[in-house]
Amino acid sequence: MVDVAADLSAPPAGAWLHGVVRDAEPATFAAIGGMDGGPVRAVSAAGLVAVVSTAPLDEYGEEPLRRNLEDLAWLERAARAHHAVVEALARRGPVVPARLATVHTDDERVAGSLAARRAELVATLERLAGRGEWGVKGYLVPGAATAAADTAGGAGVGTAYLRRRRAQLTAREERQQVASAAADAVHSALCELAVAGRRHAPQDRRLSGASAPMVLNGAYLVDVAALSRFTELVDSLGGRYPGLHLELTGPWPAYSFVAERPEPALTVRGPG
């Protein structure tokens, strides 16, 4: 534990990590508001700069954090405050964003992480230069054109009902399958143009408030130079797969492309 007992009025404070950049002018940070609205700080080590907020441990320590993260209002405020810092950094150049709630007990620990992970962080910063993350979400279009259920010919009313009902169920299953295949195809096509792509789990409709089920929740790392081609491709894929409603979001800081351990989903693959 840190020795901060000198000032009894202030609770011990840790450092909430927002992200890592190559370098930055100290003046940059005065303009960026951190978790509590006060300016963020820079912790420099190993030729890298970690951007942190002071995080009083009575709110951001392990136990309070565990409790606070279960509080959606707190979580939203924290996520937006963290994102605002990361986005401000991303506007100035490459940044490796930290996952939400990465708290170190003091600045020395932050510096230690920079030194220990230097090679990996530098490689990631280089990979992200001149690139941005874009999100493409695909929703199942409700009641998208399917083969018309055949009308009953020469059968009783009950039989016709059952047949119609079965046709409806089959149509729904088919629509799901078609949408799922379309989502795979859209993802593959976007991955070919992007530097990297990965799929997040589809969003829960209780969280997203979406009226239709999500079948694609993709994130793509795109070269700035290829951006217009990327958005055109999203448009044309939307036309090619009318059963999907595609939605583009971004640019995002490259949250989805800085995993410590590269997952298979991170690498670009050809179709299939």
Binding site: L72, L75, E76, A79, H83, T102, H200, V234
Partner: protein, 70 residues
């Protein structure tokens, strides 16, 4: 069918448009744990906190009402 959202504040800081919380959580909480899984958070680069998001999902109804989600 496509809806292209205008690029947000990265292009123009004055045209700030808040991003959807759910899109943000997908990203800041690592991949896809928003639905029912556990989140792992690094605390002091040693200890890991795992929290359940089930309670969170359950409380969303209450959150969604005041704001008209977009």
């Amino acid at each position: 069918m496509t809806t292209a959202l205008a690029p947000n504040s990265a292009d123009d800081p004055l045209a700030y448009r808040p991003v959807a919380l759910v899109d943000l959580l997908d990203r800041v909480l690592a991949s896809g744990v928003v639905i029912s899984g556990d989140i792992t958070l690094a605390i002091a680069d040693v200890d890991l906190v795992r929290i359940s998001l089930r309670a969170l999902v359950a409380s969303v109804g209450a959150l969604r009402q005041p704001e008209d989600a977009g």
